[in-house]
Symmetry: C3
Subunit: 345 residues, 3 copies
């Protein structure tokens, strides 16, 4: 990277305050930045850190008093910075180059788009369809009849079982498994009889899934993850779940079979959603919660079992006072008994 | 698939009500089924859905009034349907064919049974023993001295570390790791000294383990998972655990070292079982529970920490009323004080 | 293994009580040991088990009355035993032999130390640096510019994304993923814009990480895991987390972004630590806890949300009594009302 501050301002649609001829050679966080770097301030809360930064310039929403470095004033500094990072992407040059590595194993009747990169030790089974500019890192397994949309990025060791469908621009991190069998058995004489899982998994566009997360294929039909959904590491999505557009869930979340998650839902880390319930559009679930009943659109729940957020805060406060409550109860009982004795005695 | 309803009835041991000459070409869920499909009704609860199904026939326990499609009446429709699915299995034709793929790496002194399929990029280390008709998908690693029973099915990217033993007909989903070291250290001068884990993992027959789940080898001896046990995705089983026949556990469960789980135990998703305790035969643990003490056979516990199910329901109801309880307590204290003042004043 | 008891005593710095000429051919747990084996007794609690052991000898802290087998008396029998296990290590002979397997794929400008073993189907990308005596099992992926210190041991299917750094003697179990993207997005018009994650992961020396655990790269800078840290299976460490020396965390723990974990911290299984908080040196977190606020050094917290340990025990006791508390409250209210009626009536 080698740009002047003026060029950066033009790229992100901002205005320079200070020396617009400064040459910028790197991008970094406020604490990590050194000379030659540009950094960013996301909120006024972090403005005091500017005094000790070693950055040469900063992307910022509005000019603070006595700013020690040159600035690019722009409406959303974090987005502008993300845009700059993507523009200067140093990662892509380390992606496998377009072409098929000689150690990759490609099945019969596989259709591969333009400028696709298939890294070493990848295995693509029969009848898979790979879109344009897809990058498949080392050691991925693409099952029979899988469809991968344009511009998808699969990091090493992803497994897509047969019939899985990916929209465009999906990012799958290492160890993701899509299309494993749903957990379905019928009891028979004390043992479990497996119910074959003959459905599939379908992701929309721009879905991102974190390391070692798993999404099960439907028993019948489709486990659906809509466009724009973001899923963190070690998350489990059960069979026949449906997740609406732009919902996000943090690490270690589990969603049981046939749950329906609306659009723009946020689920905190390590929470669980019971099967066959519905989380309404725009709802939020706090971290470490156990949601056993449907949640109305727009509401916020938390806890084990999950209850409405404001109530939960008062419940938690009350819980800590339980030992005291028991003591006060005993004291009251003594007082009341004394009163009764006095009145009747 | 192309069978008449009469042929299907014969296969599952049922009786046709309606047109026994209908030709069935597919199997599907009540909602997903279309013309030519047969579907099933598991419980009377779903009978109303028959009015809108597009299926051509249904497997059902008893004849409902005004059923709009032809029926096969049979005792357990879900099992009959699973049986039909297995009979018509469309999956197996997409399994790797028997034989050893040229990119597979096979160690020394490996014994391989009849009609075994070893897919691309599989690695089998020295002295492993593979039973008849085993299917090993792409990219699996089979360690030294591993034994795999007849008819096991290993999906892509399974890792079996050295000495692991599998019974017959086990199914391991992608990313399963068996035989990782148990988590054992001795403290010494503020640091941790590793205790070598020299035991192994042994699965019985018909064990199924979900995607990316992990079972640790024993410190000494064996971590045992008995026949018929079903384990969902992202489950962790610690060293020296023993799990009895036909127990089942949902996703994200963790079982700490040396816990003993009985037969026919059910553990809900994301629950944890402490080390060195015992869960009795037939016990149930609710989802998201933390079980810190042994649980008697046949009982049901839930919560954090887990308590008896009926008590927990009343505790949860009480928790929500904690803010109210504190208010009522203050009010009572005021009243009692007023009474005391009146009596003594 | 073939040593006399005298030789063993010399190796571990202990003294023989009994027949020092006994020949020992194996090492095993108290319950698992047979003739020819030596075992150990970690605490006096297990001394009664000596009566039924089939071992030929025992490592023990002090001589118990009527010990039926020969003894090696030593200060810390568990450590002595671990030392013996490491001395007789039967595992290493099953590690891949030094050298590069012909099916391994090695990128450009990779530097490989002395006596390194690179197993089948390993892929090492450009510019990686591998220290002396490193063992990399089958199917691992080592990304661009990764650095691996001397004597590291990588079990099968580990993924190290670009720029990851490992100190010396680290052990990574199967399926570990280091350097996946942190979970970072900025909201824009109802959708999520990815914030590129351009930092890295750095492990100190002697770090051990369990099967299928994941550690995310920093947004900027470094996600740091200091020397001596031990991490169990299926653990998630978020971006920019810092973990101090010799801390340990059990399975299924999740640590959210930018949390700072001190030295000698212990975190119980399936607990979660919120982002941007600090867990002080020597603190302990109980299993299944949700830590939402910083924890002072040396303290112990547990629960959901986590509170101080002694308080939590009383809160749990109180919770179980909530139904009774509500009953007593109603009874008191009746009594007080009766008293008031009597006084005013």
């Amino acid at each position: 990277m080698d740009m002047t501050l003026a060029e950066i301002a033009q790229l992100v649609g901002g205005t320079v305050k200070g020396d617009e001829s400064i040459r910028i050679s790197g991008l970094n966080g406020l604490k990590e930045a050194g000379p030659g770097d540009i950094t960013f301030v996301r909120s006024t809360r972090y403005v005091p850190l500017l005094e000790t930064t070693h950055a040469s310039a900063v992307l910022i929403g509005e000019e603070p008093p006595n700013c020690p470095v040159s600035m690019v004033i722009c409406a959303m500094p974090d987005l502008a910075f993300a845009q700059l990072l993507q523009y200067c992407d140093t990662e892509k040059r380390r992606h496998p180059a377009p072409g098929i590595h000689p150690t990759a194993v490609i099945g019969q009747n596989v259709r591969i788009g333009q400028d696709v990169a298939i890294d070493a030790l990848v295995h693509i089974a029969d009848n898979a369809v790979i879109g344009d500019r897809v990058v498949i890192f080392s050691g991925c397994y693409i099952g029979h009849d899988v469809t991968i949309g344009d511009d998808c990025l699969l990091y090493p060791h992803v497994v897509l079982r047969e019939d899985t469908e990916l929209g465009a621009r999906c990012i799958l991190h290492p160890g993701v498994v899509l299309g494993g069998d749903g957990f379905g058995y019928a009891p028979l004489g004390g043992a479990w009889v497996k119910i074959p899982q003959v459905g599939r998994v379908r992701l929309g566009d721009d879905v991102e899934i974190g390391c070692n997360s798993t999404i099960d294929r439907a028993t019948f039909g489709v486990t659906r993850v809509a466009s724009g959904v973001k899923i963190d590491n070690l998350v489990q999505i059960g069979h026949n779940v449906e997740i609406g557009e732009h919902s996000a869930m943090a690490a270690l979340v589990g969603i049981a079979g046939s749950a329906v998650i609306g659009k723009h839902v946020r689920i905190g880390a390590a929470s669980g959603i019971a099967g066959h319930i519905e989380i309404g559009d725009g709802a939020s679930v706090g971290a470490k919660s156990a949601v056993g009943q449907s949640v109305p659109a727009g509401s916020t729940v938390v806890g084990l079992p999950a209850i409405e957020f404001n109530l939960s805060k008062r419940v938690w406060a009350g819980q800590k006072r339980l030992p005291e409550l028991l003591r006060r109860m005993r004291e009251l009982e003594r007082q009341v008994e004394a009163l009764e004795n006095k009145l009747h005695g």
